[in-house]
C-alpha cells in the first residue's frame, strides 16, 4: 500500500464541504448574510508510521488537489470569485503522522486560492524559496489576493476540530476581517490520514466594530496594509 502510494502519492478518501450563512449574532440582522465556507479533503498519508526525510515530492503532487479544492469551495459557496474577501487554510494530521506532513499544504493550498482569486505572482519561484511571498508596494491595486493565507495545523484524532484563521485577501491587517472558522470532519483523520482544509468568506465579522484598518482604506497594496 505505502509503495503504491509513494508512487501515486495522492489518494483522496473523502471530500467534505461546509457552507454557512450568518444572519446575525444577537445584533442587527445583516442585509446580506456573511457566507463562510470550508472544504476538507481526507487524504491517505503516504508517510504515516515512519520518518521520511524527503517529503517535498508530495507538496508538488498536492498542487492539482489544491486547485480542485479551491474551485469546488467557490462553487459550493455559490458566489462569484469577486465576492470572496477573506481566506485561510489548515491541516489535521492523523496520529501516525507528524506535524511536518501538515506543513506540506502551505504552498499548494495557499497559492491555489490566491490564483483562483486573481493573484499574478510566481508560485513556482515561491515554492522553491526564491522570492518573497509578499507583494511589492504599489500605489494602486494591480492584482488580487495579495495577502498571505493564514494557517493552522495540528496532529489530531478522528473528529478533531481545527480553528482555521481567516484574514483579508489583500491586506492582512484589515481588522474587520480577522476571524476563524472551526472545521471538523467526523471520523477523520484516521491514524494514516491527513485532512487538508481551505476556507473562504464573503466579508467581515457579522457585527465588526473594533476599528482598525478598513478594507476600504487599503493603500499600500503590499499584502499587509
Amino acid at each position: 500500500m505505502i509503495e503504491r502510494l509513494v508512487d501515486g502519492m495522492i489518494e483522496i478518501r473523502r471530500v467534505f464541504t461546509h457552507v454557512e450563512d450568518i444572519h446575525h449574532e444577537f445584533g442587527p440582522v445583516a442585509a446580506a448574510p456573511l457566507r463562510r465556507g470550508a472544504i476538507a479533503a481526507v487524504l491517505t498519508n503516504p508517510y504515516a508510521g515512519r520518518y521520511v526525510e524527503e517529503i517535498v515530492p508530495m507538496m508538488d503532487a498536492l498542487t492539482p488537489v489544491g486547485i480542485d479544492m479551491a474551485r469546488r469551495l467557490r462553487a459550493a459557496m455559490d458566489v462569484s470569485v469577486d465576492a470572496i474577501e477573506s481566506y485561510g487554510k489548515g491541516a489535521i494530521v492523523g496520529s501516525a503522522g507528524e506535524l511536518e506532513h501538515g506543513a506540506l499544504w502551505h504552498v499548494p493550498g495557499g497559492y491555489a486560492m490566491r490564483e483562483l482569486l486573481g493573484w499574478k505572482g510566481d508560485r513556482a519561484a515561491y515554492a522553491q524559496g526564491k522570492t518573497s511571498a509578499q507583494a511589492t508596494p504599489s500605489s494602486a491595486q494591480t492584482q488580487n489576493a495579495l495577502a498571505i493565507v493564514p494557517a493552522t495545523k495540528k496532529v489530531g484524532p478522528p473528529g478533531a476540530t481545527l480553528d482555521v484563521p481567516l484574514t483579508h485577501i489583500n491586506a492582512s491587517y484589515v481588522r474587520s476581517h480577522f476571524d476563524a472558522i472551526e472545521v471538523r470532519v467526523p471520523g477523520a483523520p484516521a491514524a494514516d490520514e491527513i485532512v487538508f482544509i481551505l476556507a473562504m468568506a464573503t466579508g467581515a465579522r457579522i457585527h465588526q466594530r473594533v476599528g482598525g484598518l478598513k478594507a476600504a482604506d487599503i493603500a499600500v497594496w503590499n499584502g499587509l496594509r
Binding site: 483522496i12 473523502r14 471530500v15 467534505f16 454557512e20 450568518i22 444572519h23 459550493a76
Partner: protein, 194 residues
C-alpha cells in the same frame, strides 16, 4: 411567526475510498442545519403551535438545501433523517414540536416521495454539542444498506435560548454495505417499511 434564523449551514460529505476500496460513484450525504431562536425559552408554555409551524417551514427549507447541495433531482434522494438540539433554557418537548407534527410533509416533498418514517434524534445541549442524525431509506425503513447516521454540530450553538435543527439527505447508502437484509432493488415502497 417564521423561524428567526441566526445561522444556516449546509455540508456535503463525499466518500471516495473506504478501507482501501474505491467507491464509484462516491457515497454522498448532505446535512442542512438551522440555528433558530427558541420562542419559548425560559418558561413553560402549554401550546407549542409556533414551534410546530417553524418545523413545517424548516422541513421544506432544509430539505431543499440538501437536495441543492447534492445537485440531484428530488427523486434521486435515497435516505433521510432529522434531529434537534435544544439549548439549556428550553425543554425536550420543544424539539419534539419542531420535528414530529409537521416537518415531514415538506421534507418528503423536497425528496420526491418518502413513504418511510423520517428517523430522528433529539437532546438538550450547549455550544458545540454534537448529535448523530439517524438515516434510513426514504421509501422503505427496512433497507439495511441505508441504516446510517451523520454527525451534526455547530461550534457556537445552541445558545441557551436557541434550537439547532438538522435535516440530512443522501443519494446513497453506506459505502460498502454487505450485511444482507432488504435491498434497494426489493423495495415495494408502499407501507414505508419494505
Amino acid at each position: 411567526m417564521p423561524a428567526h434564523i441566526r445561522k444556516l449551514i449546509v455540508q456535503v460529505d463525499e466518500t471516495r475510498i473506504e478501507m482501501g476500496r474505491t467507491i464509484d460513484p462516491p457515497t454522498r450525504r448532505a446535512l442542512a442545519i438551522a440555528v433558530i431562536d427558541n420562542p419559548f425559552a425560559g418558561r413553560y408554555v402549554e401550546a407549542l403551535d409556533e414551534l410546530i409551524a417553524i418545523g413545517e417551514e424548516l422541513g421544506g427549507l432544509l430539505g431543499d438545501r440538501c437536495i441543492a447541495a447534492l445537485g440531484i433531482a428530488p427523486g434521486d434522494a435515497e435516505s433521510y433523517g432529522k434531529a434537534a438540539i435544544v439549548g439549556e433554557a428550553g425543554e425536550l418537548e420543544h424539539a419534539a414540536a419542531i420535528l414530529h407534527p409537521k416537518l415531514g410533509a415538506p421534507l418528503r416533498k423536497a425528496v420526491g416521495k418518502g413513504a418511510a418514517l423520517v428517523p430522528s434524534a433529539k437532546k438538550r445541549g450547549g455550544l458545540g454539542t454534537a448529535i448523530d442524525v439517524p438515516l434510513g431509506h426514504k421509501d422503505a425503513a427496512f433497507v439495511r444498506s441505508h441504516f446510517d447516521a451523520i454527525e451534526a454540530r455547530v461550534a457556537d450553538a445552541p445558545r441557551a435560548n436557541e434550537i439547532v435543527v438538522a435535516v440530512a439527505v443522501t443519494d446513497s447508502g453506506r459505502p460498502l454495505p454487505r450485511i444482507g437484509g432488504l435491498k434497494v432493488s426489493e423495495i415495494v415502497g408502499e407501507d414505508g417499511l419494505r
